[in-house]
Symmetry: C2
Subunit: 288 residues, 2 copies
């Protein structure tokens, strides 16, 4: 595995790989790798000649007061894990190299960014789109791998690729979980023991919601039950629980083919998210 | 020369060309080709294995009340001219194929778009950036060719490519002029005989400004003279004349290395633009 520290070198390598006819799989991450990231790398490894993993804690997607400074980092450990997962190039640029100049051009998401995490993180998805556009251009991948855990990010990136014709296939990779059901997250290490014990209740609430929705097709009833359960988690504060059409993130209607049931919960300063993606059966009752 | 009508086919061809190691030169146009466009194609021909010219009157960059409907079009004539100029692929998609869906994601230019043409054409450069991003992704060019006539567009695209790492070199091609100095433009055909006779005065005013600036280095004096000359053109209405740093399009200061002296003038419903780009001599007096 080769470590690449500059944008220029990464672009040269990507250009050379394209010239050699090699297919490229990109796994964009913010590092502090866990099994979720390694599942992305594994999926990329299976279908790409060359796997590029980026590790970049992107300042542009953190708002004021968010956890950019305290976001966990461990590059040496990440390198060992990435190499083990079959990554060929680990791209870890500095913020100065990624953002040397700023002419003020911005990529603004549409209404998909006004709901779920977007409503409490203004500007977050601007920063995501900026860094994803840059990473796609720097690494020119055939395919890029994203986890379903950040489902809103995935939906917005799929829309960006579709509407702006990026020559990249977006691959969705299912959420990887701890044994007790908690979604793997780099932020989990910052939970206290007590919080860590309670956190799997998020997943249980969503599973319960899934069951209610599959049986009743009733969005209101589903949400009411999920919210009740999430509000009862000791030490947790419910930020949102929503049921929306996926990937448009509009309210579900009669034409909806897939829905997302998503929640965000705060444990002190640690914010956890989880979701389930569900196909809507054609015979299902009204989802309103 | 092959004519390509769909985005999908163009993307497949570009992918295949990349696989074969062919270098690609892109010439984006709105058609109704004149010698200015052919100069772009000629520059592309010289240094590319394959030249792609796009012809697309982009609705996204016309505002309400602008001349999208009346913008001159002649695809058959354009095809003959493009073929003669050595274009390999003429890409002329429909608006429906370029914009089949819209998830609402927008690319917003920064302060560069608030001056010159941008100040009277709100949203124009959003539309330009959208279509350029799409064309770059669809054709994956090594180099793309733009005329200095649309100098503000060129400055914004150079900034977009730089700040978002598009793997494309932007080539500036000098303005091609009629014998009497009028800058070639697809819109020139819509001038009346009388207007056509007066229009070269735009160029003469800018040349006069160039001479004053080179001699005095005084932006205020230069602009006053240019504006006076432009206001005296019979049947013309001065929209703007500005002297700015290039390509930032900020007011020039002591560190400025290149300036643009640009003007827009209306002849009835026909809007003409022209400019000169000037290096600033290190020994020049204050440009304020």
């Amino acid at each position: 595995m080769k470590r690449i520290e500059t944008v220029e070198e990464m672009m040269q390598i990507a250009r050379q790989l394209r010239r050699e006819g090699k297919s490229i799989g990109l796994v964009p991450t913010m590092g502090y790798l866990h099994e979720g990231h390694l599942a992305l790398a594994g999926a990329a490894r299976k279908e790409s000649d060359m796997v590029i993993m980026s590790i970049f804690v992107n300042p542009a997607q953190f708002g004021p007061g968010e956890d950019f400074e305290t976001y966990p980092r461990d590059l040496e450990r990440d390198c060992a894990l990435a190499e083990e997962a079959g990554v060929d190039y680990l791209f870890h640029p500095t913020a100065g190299d990624m953002y040397p100049q700023d002419g003020g051009i911005r990529i603004l998401p549409g209404p998909q960014a006004d709901v779920l995490c977007g409503s409490s993180r203004p500007g977050h998805f601007d920063g995501v789109l900026k860094v994803i556009c840059k990473l796609f251009n720097i690494t020119s991948p055939d395919r890029a791998y994203f986890g379903e855990k950040d489902a809103q990010q995935l939906a917005i990136i799929e829309t960006f690729v579709r509407d702006f014709n990026f020559p990249v296939e977006i691959r969705r990779v299912p959420i990887v979980r701890e044994e007790d059901g908690l979604a793997k997250s780099s932020r989990n290490v910052r939970l206290s023991d007590a919080q860590r014990n309670e956190a799997p209740a998020i997943r249980r609430a969503l599973e319960c919601g899934e069951q209610i929705f599959l049986e009743t097709g009733n969005a209101g009833e589903t949400l009411a039950a999920v919210r009740r359960l999430l509000q009862k988690i000791p030490g947790a504060e419910l930020e949102y629980a929503e049921l929306l059409e996926y990937p448009s993130l509009k309210p579900a209607d009669a034409d909806t083919k897939e829905i997302i049931l998503a929640a965000a919960v705060g444990f002190g300063s640690v914010r956890l998210i989880d979701n389930v993606l569900l196909p809507v059966k054609e015979t299902a009752p009204c989802t309103k």
